[in-house]
Amino acid sequence: MSDIASLTISDMRAGLDSKQFSCSELVKASLDKADSSSGLNCFNLISAENALQEAVQIDALLAQGKTAPLLGIPVGIKDVICTKGVRTTASSKILENFIPPYDATVVRKLKTAGTVSIGKLNMDEFAMGSSNENSAFGPVKNPWNPEYVPGGSSGGSAAAVAAGICPITLGTDTGGSIRQPASFCGIVGLKPTYGRVSRYGVIAYASSLDQVGGFAHNVKDCALVTQAICGQDPNDATSANREVPDFTKVLGQSIKGLRVGLPKEYFVSAVDGEIDAALKKAISVLEGLGAIPVEISLPHTDAAVAVYYILAPAEASSNLARYDGIRYGHRAKGNYDLKTLYAKSRSEGFGREVQRRIMVGAYVLSTGYYDAYYLKAQKVRSLIAKDFQEAFAHKCDVIAAPTAPNAPFKIGAKISDPLQMYLNDIFTIPVNLAGLPGMSVPCGFTSSGLPIGLQLIGKPWDEETLFKTASAYESATDWHTKRPTTAR
């Protein structure tokens, strides 16, 4: 049987329903692909036994003639999302032996939808990073060229799809952690509106910014996985009480007359020339489909990274206070008094970037600095959100922009300069700050063959326009059909 693991969902579903292959065979193919691609280091844990057992159950359902959009589809879960009985580490030494006694809501939903999880995907430790180099389990490599980073923090999730291990994976996005790796790996990734998807069971990095989303080869598959995970959850007070529309309905609809906002602050000299060129081409494709490009302004764009690097570390320093080696996780060996035990356990357990952000967070929240940093950042955050509101109220229906200002970089290139690494997220961060849905779709390659992403940003709760626009763009281009040949 050929490489069935790299098929799209539609093809997998057709194969399963027509008994071309069984779920067990499909899962086996996925596990084999994961194994043969182990050099990419996508997985922190492969749960082959569980997956094959679940596949047998699904095969029983298929034999009964049961069918559902995601029934029997192999998936991968970012290792920041709790899976009952399956080790969940957030790529941190501090959780190296943690077995969650409960499922995250998104995991529960994917199980109910009939998917089979083949394992836990590598990531930047506690989702802090833009290159997947901050992992206690080593960096993930870009399937298009293993010398390059896959982006982060959901690097394993993006690489696993790009490498054809499974058609959909879950990631999380706090400042671009779905969109940027999707862009770097040449696939589709969507961060839903804040509140669309439950965060229950998702190890928190920055609670007011975190959101779960899906990766896929194409827009339709992305819509299917997004559909499966959305909805209010009684266990997450920030999940919204809103109807979830059928996202697949808008696929293929015309975008004639759709006003596409182009923020002038996003098309600046800081953007790599090849990226700028690919973006301009993508916009002309949209225009060719009947969309109307309009220039807009998001005047507070320049402040976004600064706002983010106050708010996210502040929330992180608080969210990560629970990792103390008392009830679970790494506890330092030795006969220490309580206070020393805390400090030793945490210093041994957390990586450098995590410790750095915890300290920045503690600093901006401490007495005497709160107003100047934290409160100020919250105020600027509301101005950033307002910029988007204004644009959507008066100028455009959707915003198009680069996902990242540069193409994938080489492993190790930026690791010694945290600030340069942070600036990589300049175009994705504002979307999290405003709580908007954002998506990255492949829109070309650099001269050295590395993928480039087009970012689409929507109004709150308007994922439909993103799917509609992306689907129209996809139908006019073939970037989404390109697969890396070097997957190893």
């Binding site: 957030a90 229950y200 609670s207 997450d236 608080s318 206070a321 629970r322 103390d324 309580l338 929240l365």
Partner: protein, 480 residues
């Protein structure tokens, strides 16, 4: 130099909800160690809090009962510190936006009304419990209590003696029990108290340096710890030295305070609004709804008991000390119609019997209606007061209604004038010698005839009537 004592109390009221403030785990007292746990209680990775609506309601109730302003826009805040009984490394509390502000608690002390102002009441979660074992140099953590809802009631520094502090604390306990939001059980830690105390020269307006005494878990300890601390601070000030601002622990074994080592570092709690919990908006309609459901509070009851029922302040205080007492009393009065008699019966016979039997009023075999009926039987001269006492005893033993007991035992009092007169006449006629002496003015013989009549009626005659009718018959005989 004479010093004035200035005390402020922070009272933690544990709310009697079924579940914890931010999760569906049981909020019950006790349990096996770490029995009442869930992902939120354990602070597991990925767990998220969801607020308990009842906690907000209870906070509004206590706020209204203490005349506070209720905040419309409420946010929870995270308060950070590391401690093994604090699973998340932060406590979810309220910081600069407490749900209730600027109220007061009124109570009586030594027959006089006192008022202590409230700064604030806020909602927060409790921490777990640690058991220390110095033998193995380890502490054991039980998280059953972690996440149980608390209201922290912070008074103004307007308390001026240990006795007043205890009286205030009793008033807070009384209120939360009336409202039914807490059992106020200090032994089980449902009510815990920290005290801030400072001294200043009499007449001085500026506060002195204060110390904080943590975890005073009985009324007695509150008084003893404050007395000790007043003496300690007085000695320091008299010697011309400065009181050091610090946190103290009260050692109930030797009755002294000592500095808390874990509080030596100056804390930086790094409060910020909890992003996991959307704001709680308390609209006026919600406040009004809660107000409409408030029970009558001890102060209202006491006023009614004194002004309408004519009871003494002392009796009113005794009867209103518990909501169950005053509601019981109220029903007794409603049944018998005599407020004073009801007061006497409830506070002496009834409370005495409960005490002797070691019963809570909720488990009393005598109902309020039953006791009211018993008093009514006395009022209506159906039975004598003496008979009533034995009927009451039987009611308490058997739970039977008083009417049933009176019928069964034929205990009815003889109150019919004609019947009593017939007996009197018979006794007069059978004892001519004594009658002559009595008619001649020997008062002692009045007692003799009362005794004879009572004996002849088996003690069932109404003694007051017997008295009156003997005199009436004697007058009639003299005139004849």
């Amino acid at each position: 130099m004479e010093f004035e004592t200035v005390i402020g109390l922070e009272v933690h009221v544990q709310l009697s909800t079924k579940s914890k403030i931010f999760s569906n785990a049981s909020a019950a007292y006790g349990g096996e160690p770490n029995e009442y746990i869930d992902p939120v209680t354990l602070g597991l990775p990925g767990a998220l809090p969801v607020g308990n609506k009842k906690v907000v309601e209870y906070a509004i109730m206590l706020g209204l009962a203490t005349h506070c302003e209720i905040r419309r826009f409420n946010r929870f805040a995270r308060k950070h510190y590391f401690y093994p009984d604090l699973p998340k490394g932060y406590q979810i509390s309220q910081f600069d936006e407490p749900i209730c502000e600027r109220g007061h608690v009124d109570f009586y002390m030594d027959g006089a009304k006192r008022t202590v102002g409230l700064k604030r009441i806020h909602m927060e979660e409790d921490a777990g419990k640690n058991v220390h074992d110095s033998r193995t140099a380890s502490s054991l953590v039980d998280l059953n209590r972690a996440g149980v809802p608390l209201l922290e009631v912070v008074s103004e520094p307007e308390i001026h003696s240990p006795a007043e502090a205890a009286a205030y604390l009793r008033a807070v306990r009384q209120l939360v029990r009336y409202l039914g939001i807490s059992d106020g059980n200090m032994e089980e830690g449902s009510l815990r108290c920290d005290a801030n105390i400072s001294l200043r020269p009499v007449g001085e307006l500026k506060f002195g340096t204060r110390t904080e005494i943590k975890n005073l878990n009985s009324f007695k300890f509150v008084e003893r710890a404050l007395e000790y601390e007043i003496a300690r601070q007085t000695a320091i000030l008299r010697a011309g030295n400065q009181v050091v601002q610090q946190t103290l622990l009260f050692d109930s074994e030797n009755g002294s305070t000592r500095p808390m080592r874990s509080k030596e570092e100056s804390a930086d709690y790094r409060y910020f609004p909890d992003p996991d919990l959307p704001p709680v908006v308390v609209e006026e309609s919600w406040v009004q709804d809660v107000k409409g459901r408030l029970p009558r509070l001890p102060a209202e009851w006491a006023t009614e008991l004194v002004n309408e029922y004519g009871l003494s302040l002392y009796d009113a205080t005794v009867l209103t000390s518990e909501r169950a007492f005053v509601e019981f009393y109220h029903e007794v009065v409603a049944t018998c119609g005599n407020a004073k008699a009801a007061c006497n019966w409830v506070t002496s016979e009834f409370f005495g019997a409960l005490n002797k039997a070691g019963l809570e009023i909720e488990h009393s075999p005598v109902t309020a209606k039953g006791l009211g009926e018993l008093i009514k039987l006395v009022e209506d001269d159906v039975i004598s007061g003496k008979m009533a006492k034995s009927v009451f005893e039987e009611m308490f033993e058997t739970g039977k209604a008083p009417g049933v007991i009176v019928n069964e035992k034929g205990l009815k009092q003889l109150s019919n004038d004609d019947e009593i007169l017939a007996v009197i006449r018979k006794e007069f006629d059978s004892n001519p010698g004594q009658l002559a002496g009595y008619l001649a003015g020997n008062e002692r013989l009045h007692g003799f005839f009362v005794g004879q009549v009572m004996k002849a009626t088996g003690g069932s005659a109404n003694p007051k009537k017997v008295n009156d009718l003997i005199r009436q018959e004697a007058v009639a005989r003299k005139g004849a």
